[in-house]
């Protein structure tokens, strides 16, 4: 069936118009999709709107896409003019059919920069595209560009504001409004990532975007990090072979380790300067390093961990204990998933090294501050901010003097009296047992005893081998 150029052009115009009208009729469209419909029906619109779902009948795609694609390219080559409105409509149509067409996103960047489009519009379009193409790299990349624009706007409000009479009050109100806005944007991003992760297993692009968002929109924010860790428990429990989901948890743990270690090493109130996180501490990862090589956004000043934040986040040993418990629970309930065993390795490794770094070279009750040392300053400062955490760390410091491999001692150490610590130990019951090499070996043994799946057995043996060769040095 030979389509004349004219027939295709009419079809294209109709589709572009229908899509535009659909969005006008229903601003709550939340999903796009392809309708399997191989019969060509020129007389009917291939655009279908049902509830909040926008569908395109499959027959029209092979005519529509090359034509619109070509039209945009001609515009780019300056061989054909398109006004702003036409560009908005055409790029929208194009990207709903093929969101990996970088040129279309770039045209939209230009439209945004000259004010013909709002960032919210493109975030919405991207979100829709992801319902059908949850991995689309170009969509995620464009999304990050938009977020960088948003961040830039939020961190440098207009200069004329400072000219106002009651400038200070307005600045504060403005700051609150902006930070609330960012907060909403952040949560929306988390939602978009979660949706995309659910639509495609081990969706690396979605998860690494999630990491980027946290690194750029909430750097060092203890509360956000911990909330994410808590809220993701249910998700990973229902997606036990999603490597990327567990990798996200590993990222969160590492970030929490970094933040909590810093706070402990500079626990004196005067260390809490409102500074950009990149200059706050030598421990932070290079701020220019991104998960995907893209440049860091100009992040707003993160609020330093407040005493309330620190108090609401459990101490590191407890966090690790909880993570290992989660892993144990999942490994036992769902035998034979390598992802869970990999996660266990990561968590235990992180724990093992953190423990080593924070006890290695520690003095015998010495109070000289060391940069890495959790206990630096502990003995000389009152402990108002970190109840449970400090108590446990103190316990560990005592027992860290034991050799590697004799980790069973740590648990016992909780009850050992120390006149200097009576006050702190009385603060509350001792925390749960942090992970230890011996308990890991017991775990492996119990799995091997009760497992009925050959894969589970293999994974357990491999884990034991790893413990012996990597950890048990």
């Amino acid at each position: 069936m030979a389509e004349t150029e004219n027939e295709v052009e009419v079809l294209v115009q109709r589709v572009v118009k229908d899509i535009n009208n659909a969005f006008k009729r229903n601003p709550n469209i939340d999903e796009i999709g392809l309708i399997p419909c191989p019969e060509v029906r020129y007389n009917r619109s291939p655009i279908v709107l049902v509830e909040n779902k926008l569908g395109v009948e499959s027959w029209c795609v092979k005519y529509l896409l090359p034509y619109v694609h070509n039209k945009l390219l001609l515009y780019r080559q300056r061989k054909q003019w398109l006004d702003r409105e036409a560009l908005v409509d055409i790029t929208c149509t194009l990207l709903l059919l093929n969101p990996d067409f970088t040129t279309a996103w770039n045209v939209r960047k230009e439209l945004l920069q000259c004010g013909a489009l709002s960032p919210e519009r493109d975030l919405y379009l991207g979100k829709l595209a992801l319902t059908k193409f949850p991995k689309s790299p170009e969509t995620w990349i464009h999304r990050r560009w938009i977020l960088q624009q948003v961040l830039r706007e939020c961190s440098s409000p207009g200069p004329d504001r400072k000219e106002q009479g009651d400038g200070d009050r307005r600045d504060a109100a403005e700051k609150t409004r902006l930070s609330e806005h960012l907060h909403r944007v952040l949560h929306e991003e988390m939602k978009v990532c979660a949706d995309a992760a659910g639509r495609y297993p081990s969706n690396y692009n979605a998860w690494s975007h999630r990491v980027w968002v946290l690194q750029n929109m909430a750097p060092g924010n203890l509360k956000v990090l911990h909330d994410e860790l808590s809220s993701m428990r249910q998700w990973v429990s229902m997606h036990v072979s999603d490597h990327s989901g567990f990798h996200y948890r590993q990222f969160l743990l590492k970030a929490l380790v970094r933040e909590l270690s810093q706070s402990l090493s500079s626990s004196s109130p005067q260390h809490y300067h409102p500074q950009p996180s990149s200059s706050h501490s030598p421990h932070k990862a290079n701020p220019h390093h991104q998960a995907n090589g893209e440049p860091t956004a100009a992040a707003p000043c993160p609020s330093p961990p407040s005493p309330e934040d620190l108090a609401s986040v459990p101490a590191l040993p407890q966090l690790f204990h909880q993570e290992v418990e989660l892993c144990t629970d999942l490994i036992k309930s769902f035998p034979g998933h390598e992802t869970l065993w990999c996660h266990r390795r990561h968590v235990f490794y992180l724990w093992h090294h953190w423990r080593r770094d924070h006890h290695y070279g520690q003095g015998f009750g010495s109070e000289s501050p060391q940069p890495n040392h959790t206990d630096a300053g502990l003995s000389s400062h009152p402990h108002t901010a970190c109840p449970g955490g400090v108590g446990l760390d103190r316990v560990q410091r005592r027992n860290g003097q034991a050799q590697e491999g004799q980790d069973a001692m740590e648990v016992d150490g909780v009850g050992v009296p120390d006149p200097r610590d009576t006050k702190r130990l009385k603060r509350g019951p001792p925390g749960p047992c942090p992970p230890a090499l011996s308990s890991e070996h017991s775990f492996v043994a119990s799995v091997l005893d009760s497992c009925r799946s050959p894969e589970q057995g293999r994974f357990a043996l491999a884990y034991r081998k790893w413990l012996d060769s990597v950890i048990g040095q």
Binding site: E31, G33, L34, I35, P36, C37, P38, E39, V48, V50, E51, K53, G55, S58, T131, K132, G198, R199, P201, M238, H239, V240, S241, S333, F334, P335, H337, R452
Partner: protein, 198 residues
Amino acid sequence: MKLYSLSVLHKGATKSNLLKSAYDLSSFSFFQRSSVQEFMTFTSALIVERSAHGSRASVKEQEYLCHVYVRNDSLSAVVIADSEYPQRVAFTLLDKVLEEFSRQVESIDWPSGNPDTINYKALDIHLAKYQNPREADAMTKVQAELDETKIILHNTMESLLDRGEKLDDLVQKSEHLGNQSKAFYKTARKQNSCCEVM
């Protein structure tokens, strides 16, 4: 970790008869759902037809696992799950459903009944409840009852078919599939794309 469909069928001499089915298609793209549902029905019926009396099997097809139990009295159940869903819980579900169904629906109605005439209402509830395998509290029960070594594992649907039989032909002839689904299957196969068959 998902369950997509749960069906009760009667294995007849030459064909299987669908008695009741429940679906959870929320994770599929909206416009694909009706086709997906048809394919799941088609697959469930085919698997029961090609499975022996008194057998349990798991059939792998793309990223799905279809678990089937055909009882000696010809009453059968199929649950279509993803590859994460624990097999043992799936079979516990099948046992439970068939036991309950056979108590509530007279066996005289099995060979000729259909979803409209059969009075069994609990299938949707079971499907919803078992979405979370741990909440369904199946784990403890399973240990004692199921002998996993007796579950046959098929790596493809093809392995259920007779020599020379083609899945494409069965799709074309099927009364479970509408024209749109059949056409969709054809184009998907031709393109060898990552579009799901089911």
